[in-house]
Point group: C2
């Protein structure tokens, strides 16, 4: 069986050693074992698991959510619907964030449109005016 030190595992997934220890501390990636001198020992399964963490992160899951995903993925009572539900929830949250950002961006663009620009005194600035306005 192939085994890895923490440094090799880190390199295999292009993360820092400290990050792996951080994941361990968060319960995401426990070492397979320790050597007599206390060094962490990892398996090729650890590589898969670490890859899982990184990929899920790229899709916007937090470490805590990833921990839950990993737990599910090892629960024999779980089925595809459970995972799909997690994905749907994340997708919905992202959708919400997107629409919030779109509305913010619209406001910014709208405000800028009426800002006269170069050479004009700040007292005429539509953006600053908005910021100082009384209304909510």
């Amino acid at each position: 069986m192939t085994v890895f030190t923490i440094g090799k595992l880190a390199k295999s997934c292009d993360v820092k050693v400290d990050t792996i220890r951080h994941y361990e501390q968060k319960g995401l990636l426990l070492p397979l074992d320790r050597t007599a001198s206390g060094y962490r020992v990892y398996s090729s399964n650890s590589v898969k698991r670490l890859r899982f963490v990184r990929k899920a992160q790229h899709l916007g899951f937090t470490l805590e959510e990833i921990r839950e995903l990993l737990e599910l993925s090892e629960n024999s009572d779980a089925d595809c619907a459970d995972i799909r539900e997690k994905a749907r929830m994340k997708s919905d949250a992202i959708e919400k964030r997107i629409s919030d950002l779109i509305s913010i961006k619209k406001s910014l663009v709208e405000l800028s449109k009426y800002c006269p620009g170069k050479g004009v005194s700040l007292s005429e600035c539509s953006i600053l005016k908005h910021f100082y306005e009384e209304s909510e």
Copy 2:
């Protein structure tokens, strides 16, 4: 001249007293003065300034960026173009964030599409498969 204690100012903009002190610590909102006993004293201009901070926050500016905006807004050498440039930069950053989120959401939706769902073993889950895949 109308003056405010920190508590009144807080209420006027529906923020906590601690938040105002936090803004002060960050250089966003200094009290006009202090009473003999050390109480902060604010003016109606402070109300405007605090409103400014909250509004700019709603448009996605960080406290540090807001500090810069406030500085600009009080700089007699600045003009509308300076403020507009800040707004444009923020707008661009938001746009970037939106498109990142859209691409993440697309991936999630795509992965979920091929996940068979209820009753099917996790070994068939397209989402988990993706997470465990070797490719970047």
